[in-house]
Symmetry: C2
Subunit: 223 residues, 2 copies
DNA sequence: CGAATAGTTGAGTAGTCTCAAAACAGGTGG
DNA sequence: CCACCTGTTTTGAGACTACTCAACTATTCG
């Protein structure tokens, strides 16, 4: 269930001719709940998520769990950076990602200006998301956290002003990410539904019914 | 009290001969509670803190405050990145910092390998601090948050295993950073003192009396 | 010294957590 | 097709923590 992911030849060769091609990154898929072991990716430490979600998961001494950072479609992730982190990188959804060696990545940044700009701005964006996430965690109530999470999902999926948002993560993972217990999160969903802020028929896809109100809630007005 | 900081010629000229020298960054000082307006630093957006602390401060609709990120001695800060952030960069202590233009900074990175490595690793470290901070905020109790904060202070001040740590920030700012009310934080201090985990005579300097216990508390063991 | 700011203490309340159990969804085998 | 199993989500009741508001003490600075 939580197997460590190791890169072996069968993975490598599936998409290459045996040697790493300069401009063809290696695409890999990982099952849900796979732990990405940084050590195992020593040679291909740069990962660009193309589908799914990776979370940096931490477990406190008594079992409390947190997901501190989420890497979604389009996000760059330098596995070397997280070797010394207190958490583990876990696929919270089935993931497909491109893997790059350090040199390969640098090369591609040099050769492809757009790629370079994309990656740089992605890194900057990730810092902003982290800061915003701290704000969400620090002083917001459960419903406010959920409202914020819905907008974060919409924004990071680049859905513009769409009123239908796919949350994709499991409730338990959303709870870990927003610093709540799954039960509390469930009650927050129920409250938003009851007050006609959102509507949903399944766990994944939610419809925003009253965007201004939801926005204000997320921003902490009328607590 | 919360004046916006603008760079004017008097600031510029104090350390240069009128033109920005290629290799002499401009050192500036800012009073406590100054707000750094990104717009005003258009031409010198890169800031390296040499003393004091800058916090990214957010205010929710009903007045709740949070400091999501702290920039301490040695930290690099790209003011452009935070133009679109929901918070304001505020000096939570009197600050001195070097200011660089984008070109100047790049140049220095090219010319000075050590500088380049320092800045890059600083950026990576900041991401780790942000992730750890999310863990601290998400599921820890007040005393656990405080214990974590003490260790974060020690680590970021590179005090090694020193048992005396200067917290430097005001209680209210620590509270904003750790997602607590000042009253709750004060009670957390009292509890740590009462249980002989720490001791202190003034608000700033605290002594760790029982490091293993404090460490375990910070890590969420024996909640 | 008095005013202003910063930090602490106390009592009551609101909100989240805990634990337990029930409802629901998806897949498997009879 | 249905009973069954497993994993996920929801609901309920009670405990506990952090918040609120208010008053009080300590410190800083004219």
């Amino acid at each position: 269930m939580t197997d460590l992911a190791y890169i072996d030849d069968s993975n490598f060769l599936s998409h290459s001719t045996g040697h790493i091609q300069a401009m063809t990154p290696i695409s890999n898929t990982f099952d849900q709940d796979t732990i990405l072991d940084g050590q195992a990716f020593r040679d291909l430490p740069l990962l660009v998520v193309t589908k799914g979600a990776i979370g940096l998961k931490h477990t406190l001494g008594d079992g409390r769990q947190t997901i501190s950072v989420l890497f979604l479609e389009g996000d760059v992730l330098d596995l070397r950076q997280y070797l010394s982190a207190s958490g583990k990188l876990a696929c919270v959804l089935p993931v497909t990602a491109f893997l790059y060696s350090s040199e390969h990545f640098k090369q591609k940044e040099q050769d492809n200006t757009k790629f370079h700009i994309d990656q740089t701005s992605n890194r900057a964006r990730q810092q902003l998301y982290a800061a915003q996430h701290c704000v969400d965690l620090a002083r917001k109530s459960a419903v406010e956290k959920l409202a914020s999470f819905i907008f974060e999902c919409r924004k990071r999926q680049q859905l513009g002003r769409h009123l239908t948002v796919s949350l994709r993560l499991r409730r338990a993972d959303i709870a870990d990410y927003m610093g709540l217990r799954a039960e509390t999160l469930s009650r927050a969903f129920a409250k938003l539904r009851k007050h006609q802020f959102i509507e949903y028929n399944n766990a994944d896809e939610i419809h925003i019914l009253n965007e201004p109100a939801l926005r204000q809630l997320a921003n902490g007005k009328f607590a």
